[in-house]
Symmetry: C2
Subunit: 330 residues, 2 copies
């Protein structure tokens, strides 16, 4: 008897396209991880270049797997992705305007392809496999190059009229504040994100006379990881930067709770890994600014998924939903 397609074990690939790195994973339908990898996004090289490289890397990785597997679906998570249209519409960090991801991927793969916002993917991942498994109302903040958010309202991933709901990174928290890539000023993302942290370093180097190792690193060389490592060895400016960031984040999250009445807020991504350095001031200013009813009731949690793979798993989940439920996004 010859082997048929039904003897094969279906697998899906989930991809989280970040402004700096792209992470992807291959899982079977029971969420067993078969392969994981990371490569540089290099968004400035353009979308065509990126999706060409991505297709090669997926095919290479797939070919390394045993012959019993068959790739049946792809889920792509990207900032500014619009699941209704299959496009990246307004990604200020990738700067790929109106790129139709589905079309680009269909050049390389003739299987169902699902796309969704990276933060929505993270929320879906946390709901399926992470700390939000039994939660009906929760918010996932992705703290990477920018700040994204995915929001579950009454057991439902919030979408909005154009699939763009939940852009907490672009709520204006300071009138006339820092210039934002969106063309306005004072957006939360300009303060609370890897890039926001770098700007806050510059701010403290301007206003404070404290000694700091940060004075030896140029803006472009600096990463939020540098700031974290210096804070761990008590660099005074690095410590101030985390308190300042946590204060802004805590106050903003208190407003977010007033709006959404969630059970928890989950932090995901690079600077969320700064642990107590960010969480402690965030929690302090969060509790201080909450409506009385909520004080002590709403938890701020870190992503429950190893290596911050929530968006990758969420993208896999969305691909599986597309394959089984015949969703419109094909």
């Amino acid at each position: 008897m010859t082997e048929t397609i039904t003897d094969k074990k279906e697998i899906v690939v989930g991809i989280d396209i970040g402004g700096t790195n792209t992470v992807f994973g291959i899982v079977d339908l029971n969420n067993n991880i078969l392969f994981e990898n990371t490569f540089k996004t290099y968004p400035a090289k353009g979308a065509e270049d990126f999706f060409g490289r991505l297709a090669c890397i997926i095919k290479e990785s797939y070919n390394k797997l045993p012959d019993k597997y068959i790739l049946s679906g792809i889920g792509l998570a990207a900032p500014g992705a619009n699941y209704l249209k299959g496009t990246i519409e307004s990604s200020v960090n990738l700067k790929w305007e109106n790129v139709n991801i589905i079309k680009m991927m269909k050049k390389h793969f003739d299987i169902p392809i699902a796309i969704l916002n990276d933060a929505d993917a993270a929320a879906l991942g946390e709901h399926v496999l992470g700390v939000a498994q039994n939660m009906k109302n929760f918010i996932v903040l992705t703290l990477g190059t920018g700040l994204g958010s995915g929001i579950f309202v009454d057991e439902h991933l919030m979408r909005g009229e154009n699939g763009l709901a939940g852009e907490l990174g672009h709520i204006i928290i300071e009138e006339g504040g820092r210039e934002c890539t969106c063309g306005r000023s004072g957006c939360l993302e300009t303060y609370v994100s890897a890039n926001g942290i770098k700007r806050t370093v510059s701010y403290f180097l301007s206003v404070s006379g404290l000694k700091s190792e940060l004075k030896n690193i140029s803006f472009n060389e600096l990463t939020s990881k540098n700031v974290y490592e210096l804070a761990l060895i008590n660099d005074p400016v690095a410590l101030e930067v985390f308190i300042y960031t946590g204060k802004i984040l805590g106050k903003a999250l208190a407003n977010v709770v007033t709006v959404f009445n969630p059970e928890a807020i989950i932090l995901f991504g690079g600077i969320a890994d700064s642990n107590e350095l960010l969480l402690k001031p965030t929690n302090f200013y969060f509790e201080k600014n909450l409506l009385n009813f909520y004080k002590g009731k709403v938890r701020i949690l870190k992503s429950g998924l190893q290596n911050g793979k929530a968006a990758v798993y969420g993208a896999c989940e969305f691909a599986k939903q597309l394959m089984t439920k015949k969703m419109i996004n094909v």
Copy 2:
């Protein structure tokens, strides 16, 4: 053959309990209005007094109707009402802490009684009978003594973990701003509401040297209607007050759009009736502060229901849903 209950035509009463006035209406199951009335809430006299008066007024009104009708359900809309518990939990304008409305009404009526937040009721009313009849994503702001909001997300009235989602009146828009009845400072409601308008009058009388009829009216005597009427005859301070209020409202609504991606925002209640005086500056600062993607796409509308009865109709609708769907709120 004797008349049975099935020969009777079922009707429901919907009640919108405001900080100043209580409005109620009796409708049949096809939303034909049979009776409407308004009376003073006098919240300071306490909840027991209020619900006693309310029961009398409902019974009187019902008795005036032809014998063919039978009262089958009651829907109550109140600020701070929690539909999950049947209580008023956090109404800063009624100041009835933890009042169990269902129990109070059950003393007088042995029929299904539904309660919901007044702003949620307004949103439901607009969805069933008003300008939001075909909308999936919209926000209703109730501009009365306070500022409430009811939010439809993806065709679903947003509830949240404790039934308290959507309290846009208590998002903090100005750090260290005006003291709020919630115990914090700078809440949107302290600027954009009937009471907020009075406080803004005082603010302009403090900073401006302009002549104004408003200098002849004490804070306690003043109503937002006074300010409106004076603005119509070009009182310079009254005009400034509307521009100031619209600026704050417009900027806040731009952030709200970033969060919810709605099709429209609907203004409902007393100061929403100030027409162009409020709408013009609101629209200007709204468009100015929107993310580029949304500019020119999101409408700010006035309630489509005559005499601002959205919450009354919404309460009726909720009572009908309770009667037919056997919801938990009995």
